[in-house]
């Protein structure tokens, strides 16, 4: 049996190596003499769920400090930006990268990033987890902490909903949860994640609840999502509280996430959202080969563990995948048809 398992593992590994679907490649450029922070970032990017379920390749490239022109901007200390981010991106592109990152060897500054693009940057004086926060900005996610009045004035004037933030001015009261759902479902980007059993109103007021920013979401460095984590709902946030006029923001989770503090995890609701974004970018999910368990262990509880030793492809159902089996048969018959056509062509000769 063990031999069979080994063979299956070998088969899966061979297929993994030969798989043509591309790994999502991050290229980290750094001017560190010893790449401690960059290695920490690389490890973190690969181990943080949901990135851990994808085929993520991370390459650390050491360059001279002159190649990374990063400095504080607009006279504001602790904020850093890099002038030659485009050159860095072009270099990363030539290495087959999908996303460039910069770890700048400065101890006194913070980090910076471009939302939905650009190059996420952190300094060696910044916690490595800040890079996950900045990278999530490049995927389109917005901050969840409260902006100072001057930033709120610019950002919150005409805010549009983002994957993890929406802006809804609630009515004074709702007759029922169904009424609130009918009224606002189209304004909630994560509405599909809210179960029927999770209300989006409480005491006839909009909101599953208010975000408890003192409750950090657990850091998840496994390959599985937090299935038993908090349910996705509609929680009132604070990002635009200081805007004039005040704009009410709403988030999918009820706790502090990494978009609020770098020490927090993503939390179950954000994990689902980020997972979908990564899948939509064409990142390839890993083939998970579970190690055979010894019989001395107690019977496993979950179905996954009962199937230990089998090749398990963890993937969420996606609409375009539904026809795969049918299409593979179609492909097979196309191939057979080609062979018969070739035989028929040869026959008269």
């Amino acid at each position: 049996m063990k031999k069979t398992m080994r063979s299956m593992t070998f088969l899966a590994m061979s297929l993994c190596v030969l798989n043509t679907a591309h790994a999502y490649k991050l290229v980290i450029y750094t001017d560190e003499a010893v790449t401690n922070k960059s290695d920490e970032v690389a490890k973190l990017m690969k181990s943080t769920y949901p990135f851990s379920k994808y085929d993520m390749e991370v390459e650390v490239v050491r360059v001279p400090p002159t190649d990374i022109e990063c400095e504080s901007t607009n006279g504001i200390d602790r904020l850093v930006t890099c002038k030659n981010a485009e050159d860095i991106q072009a270099k990363a592109m030539k290495r087959g990268g999908d996303q460039a990152m910069i770890v700048k060897n400065i101890s006194k500054y913070g980090g910076s990033s471009g939302v939905g693009g650009g190059v996420p940057v952190i300094t060696t004086g910044t916690p490595a987890r800040a890079m996950v926060h900045e990278f999530l900005h490049t995927l389109g996610l917005c901050d969840e902490y409260e902006y100072a009045a001057e930033e709120a004035a610019g950002y919150c004037n005409n805010p549009s909903s983002k994957p993890n933030v929406t802006f809804i001015t609630p009515q004074s009261a709702y007759a029922s949860d169904a009424v609130a759902r009918n009224r606002h479902s189209g304004e909630i980007p994560w509405y599909r994640d809210i179960l029927d059993t999770t209300p989006i109103t409480s005491s006839f007021m909009l909101g599953t609840g208010v975000v408890d920013f003192k409750k950090p979401a657990a850091v998840n460095d496994s390959k599985e999502g937090q299935v038993l984590g908090e349910p996705t709902g509609l929680f009132q946030g604070q990002v635009c509280n200081k805007a004039t006029p005040k704009r009410i923001s709403w988030h999918p989770g009820g706790g502090s996430t990494i978009m609020d503090k770098t020490a927090s995890g993503l939390g179950a609701p954000l994990e689902k959202i980020v997972d979908r974004i990564m899948a939509s970018k064409g990142a390839h999910k890993k083939l998970v080969v579970e190690e055979p368990k010894e019989n001395t262990e107690k019977p496993a509880v979950s179905n996954d563990k009962n199937n230990a030793g089998e090749v398990v492809v963890k993937s969420d159902p996606q609409p375009e995948v539904n026809d795969t089996s049918r299409n593979m048969f179609k492909s097979f018959f196309t191939w057979l048809k080609d062979i018969f056509q070739q035989i028929m062509n040869v026959m008269p000769k």
């Binding site: 069979t4 063979s7 299956m8 088969l11 061979s14 297929l15 030969l18 043509t20 679907a21 591309h22 607009n74 504001i76 602790r78 904020l79 850093v80 981010a85 485009e86 991106q89 072009a90 990363a92 592109m93 030539k94 087959g96 990268g97 999908d98 996303q99 460039a100 913070g110 980090g111 910076s112 471009g114 939302v115 939905g116 693009g117 650009g118 910044t126 916690p127 987890r129 800040a130 389109g140 901050d143 902490y145 902006y147 930033e151 950002y155 983002k162 994957p163 980007p189 609020d260 503090k261 770098t262 020490a263 974004i277 939509s280 390839h284 492909s331 097979f332 196309t334 191939w335 080609d338």
Partner: protein, 154 residues
């Protein structure tokens, strides 16, 4: 049993690596495949969006990400005969967030949000039946505007 599994492995390897129409069809089902066309797309408030640097390599790229979540741009690729050969919906924002955090608590202390230029790496497959790609067109879904077609500078 073991021999059969090894035989299956070898056959699978041969099949996946082969250039038969079956394997090609299979690859197409997994995503549109071809040579890798990488480019750097740039947006700027002062100029039309465009490709800054472009590169075509022989490495095979299967695109499973033609429809990015929250896409706000549609990129269309054209061949020398001016035929539309590929399109892709991508997300690229023009906001830049600069932030600093307390290294001990992880609490964000300062933030600056600016609106301006931004860029990102894009990848496209260029299969043999496309007849190559020579030009591109960008459509902004936010601005509801289609920018004029441009030649790809290799």
């Amino acid at each position: 049993m073991l021999k059969s599994l090894y035989l299956i492995t070898i056959l699978a390897v041969v099949l996946i690596n082969s250039q038969t129409s079956f394997s090609q069809e299979m690859k197409k089902e997994l995503g549109i495949c071809g040579k890798t066309f990488s480019t750097l797309m740039k947006i700027s408030p002062k100029a039309d969006p465009g490709f800054n640097e472009s590169l075509l390599t022989e490495e095979e790229f299967c695109d499973n990400g033609r429809y990015e979540q929250g896409a706000n741009y549609i990129i269309s690729l054209y061949n020398a005969k001016d035929q539309l050969v590929y399109d892709k919906r991508i997300f690229l924002n023009n906001l830049t967030f600069q932030e600093s955090s307390d290294p001990k608590t992880g609490v964000f202390k300062k933030t600056k949000i600016t609106e301006g230029s931004n860029s990102r790496i894009l990848k496209f497959p260029v299969s043999s039946d496309m007849g190559g790609v020579t030009s591109y067109k960008i459509e902004s879904l936010d601005a509801k505007k289609t920018y004029s077609k441009k030649k790809i500078k290799w």
